[in-house]
């Protein structure tokens, strides 16, 4: 367990080796090294986890300082990694799911010519993400934060020759940057008052009462603004749907299981700060709830299988923030943990479907596939059931935990939004299932010819993830079944100090559980009506409400609004500056200097004309000047 600090460094070293020597390494070796490095990380995380269980709460967190990194006056930040229950959960998720996705990628990207580059980036991403979750101070965490942003850009724009992919990568990075600016400001403000970015120091300061609630609110809001960028919440979620241009395993890893959850991790890590500021927590919860339902509505009309999943991710992260916002940080983390399994499963399975159909991703051109994909279909179905919140699968436990706590804290409006979101979630997920796997076949002839199940390298991770999607929830059984049943919460207690939690009566809790279940089943039933029993229903509905449909289909025109309000003015403004200032003034100065030099040269060239008379003139001139100087 003492080696926990190797967890990020092994994939990091692998990435470095691949980056420098990748060109000369054989493809098979690259696959083995990349996957094994992440597996090694996972093993060490596992060992550390068990070691952690043996420690008393007082000895947490275990911090290993590798070296003193920045020392500038009052500002200092060490390269220090820490191990505590929160970071342990995250490292297990990142390395475990990351490993499965690495294996899947070996199959999925087998024919891609950028194969080695892909694994370099993937390892680099794993390194950055692990630094993020294991950093012992805000500055190191921010390094990881930026690192995953960079890798996200590199991987989204992986097929950079495609214009849409390159733009999507750019969009992701720039939108993230906007959030990061707020994040940095938050770090600075905190630093000004506390004097250090170290988490232990900050927490001690909070507990000792050194931080005024007003400051806490400011910092928390700034940090959360950064989280909206990284975790794709309102208003900075716009990059995530476009990010589907990247390879599907990338979407699974980065945009489902790990990077986008970094914001949630950050809020959970800073839970003392957020608890201190009621305003900030409320903002977090409201933004989370609004995003949850907003994104769910947009998922209803998408025809691209990956886009549906993208909006679903945005929506589910909204749920996690609801959990954090109402003070149930453990519940939010729990949902993060279960979501990692079933969402990456869904993405990988979607990738499997695309692979089977030679790259088709429009659901209107699918249908009836369950006969042909005996492994993909069941795993996909399991993932869908999990996310819908059907009981006994993991999603049910985590989503229920969040909604129950929201209700318990008196946030009825948020609870209501969450419930509505749950209906929509079940509906759109099963819309996807029915359109893809059931009903009449609407396949393109070319796709139908090559229809085949995916190779084992791709299907085995699916099976493993499906297994976890079912059982992962059992570590966090609802409190109705006994106080001690929620192992997850108890595990996280040293880090996430439970505030005073309101308690509900047992009967209320059972009622809430029943409502969640009913809502989920309702959504599934409606979807079956729409897409299975009478497929004409959606078309008739669209005909009745064309405007509403158009609004949803075009994602509320948010992208267009942003373009008009922010992007275009900026682009035009910079073009203006470029034309007038950059071209004229700066280039003009440089060209002018060159022209002046040339001109001077021409003038002075007279001195070297080769004519003896001109030289004599020079001498005469010199004599006259010199004599004149002597005389006067």
């Amino acid at each position: 367990m003492e080696m926990f600090w190797l967890v990020p460094l092994i994939p990091g070293a692998s990435a470095l080796i691949l980056a420098v020597f990748g060109r000369w390494l054989p493809k098979k070796y690259v696959s083995w090294q990349a996957c094994l490095s992440v597996f090694a990380s996972f093993l060490i995380s596992l060992v550390s986890f068990f070691g952690l269980l043996k420690l008393t709460p007082e000895s947490l967190p275990v911090v290993k300082t590798l070296f003193r990194w920045i020392l500038a006056g009052r500002f200092s930040a060490d390269f220090a990694l820490q191990l505590d229950s929160l970071s342990s959960v995250m490292t297990l998720v990142v390395s475990g799911v990351g490993f499965l996705i690495h294996v899947y990628s070996v199959g999925y990207m087998a024919h891609d010519k950028g194969y080695k580059r892909y694994f370099t980036y993937l390892n680099l991403f794993t390194f950055a993400m692990l630094i993020l979750v294991m950093g012992a101070n805000l500055v190191l965490m921010f390094v990881g934060w930026e690192g995953v942003g960079l890798c996200s850009y590199l991987l989204i724009g992986f097929w950079f020759e495609k214009h849409s992919a390159a733009s999507a990568g750019k969009k992701a990075f720039i939108v993230n940057r906007i959030g990061d600016a707020a994040f940095i400001l938050g770090i600075f403000f905190l630093f000004l008052h506390v004097g250090s970015g170290d988490f232990r120091v900050i927490n001690e300061a909070i507990e000792a009462g050194h931080i005024a609630p007003a400051l806490a609110t400011l910092v928390a809001l700034l940090l959360f603004a950064g989280a909206t960028g990284k975790s794709a919440q309102i208003p900075l979620y716009i990059w995530l749907p476009d990010a589907m241009e990247g390879p599907t395993p990338v979407s699974a890893l980065i945009h489902a299981a790990t990077m986008v959850t970094a914001g949630v991790y950050m809020v959970a890590r800073m839970n003392l700060l957020f608890t201190l500021s009621g305003t900030a927590s409320q903002v977090v919860a409201i933004v989370g709830a609004l995003t949850a339902i907003f994104a769910a509505t947009m998922a209803l009309t998408q025809n691209d299988i990956k886009r549906v999943l993208a909006y679903s991710t945005i929506s589910q992260i909204g749920y996690m923030f609801i959990g954090c916002g109402v003070g149930a940080y453990a519940a939010g983390m729990f949902h993060l943990y279960t979501h990692a399994f079933f969402k990456s499963l869904l993405f990988l399975a979607a990738g499997s479907v695309m692979h089977a159909l030679s790259g088709e991703l429009d659901m209107r051109k699918m249908g009836g596939l369950r006969k042909y994909l005996p492994l993909t279909y069941p795993t996909f179905l399991i993932g869908a059931i999990a996310i819908a919140g059907v009981p006994f699968l993991s999603g049910f436990f985590s989503k229920d935990a969040i909604l129950t706590r929201a209700f318990a804290q008196g946030q009825y409006f948020i609870w209501a939004l969450g419930i509505m979101g749950a209906v929509l979630t079940a509906f759109y997920m099963f819309r996807l299932i029915f359109l893809t796997f059931f009903g009449e076949e609407r396949l393109e002839p070319h796709a139908k010819e090559h229809l085949h199940e995916s190779p084992p390298l791709m299907t085995i991770p699916l099976v493993i993830l499906a297994f976890f999607s079912i059982v992962a929830g059992y570590v966090g059984l609802p409190v109705v079944l006994g106080e001690k049943a929620n192992f997850f919460n108890r595990f996280l207690e040293p880090v996430i100090h439970p505030g005073h939690e309101a308690h509900l009566s047992i009967s209320t809790e059972w009622l809430l559980i029943l409502i969640s279940v009913a809502v989920a089943l309702c959504g599934i039933y409606i979807a079956s009506v729409f897409y299975l029993k009478s497929p004409q229903t959606p078309h008739r509905l669209v005909a009745r409400f064309p405007k509403a449909y158009k609004l949803l289909y075009n994602k509320y025109y948010v992208d267009e609004i942003y373009n008009a309000a922010f992007v275009n003015p900026l682009v035009n403004g910079s073009r203006l500056v470029y034309d007038n200032f950059d071209l004229k003034v700066i280039d003009g100065t440089i060209n002018g200097t060159a022209a002046t030099t040339g001109f001077a040269g021409k003038v002075l060239g007279f001195l070297q004309s080769g004519l003896v008379k001109d030289y004599a003139l020079g001498i005469l001139l010199g004599v006259v000047i010199f004599l004149g100087y002597l005389l006067f």
């Binding site: 060239g605 070297q608 004309s609 080769g610």
Partner: protein, 100 residues
């Protein structure tokens, strides 16, 4: 009887005339002659000074100047001959090898 300063004025005048001659003329030989005029003007100044200072050293200098001028004229004219053989012209504008 004659104030020595008159000789100086004459010397100055001759010198400036030599300079003007140098710039006006276009062929090498006459330019060289202008240089000789300048030399002689300087000689005149030296002699006048020798008289004014009462010391023969000025005249000794002039002696040497005349000697060296003779040698220089010999060699210079030889060079002009060579240049004429090469370029078939003694115009100063044609001697532009040192350009640049």
């Amino acid at each position: 009887m004659i104030p020595v300063s008159y000789f100086f004025i004459l010397s100055i005048l001759l010198f400036v005339l030599g300079i003007i001659a140098f710039f006006i003329k276009r062929d090498l030989i006459t330019m060289f002659m202008a240089v000789e005029i300048m030399l002689n003007a300087a000689n005149l100044a030296f002699i006048a000074l020798a008289k004014a200072a009462g010391s023969p050293a000025g005249q000794v200098i002039v002696f040497f100047v005349i000697t060296v001028a003779a040698a220089e004229a010999a060699v210079g004219l030889a060079i002009i001959m060579l240049v004429f053989r090469q370029k078939k012209s003694i115009k100063a504008e044609d001697m532009r090898l040192m350009k640049g």
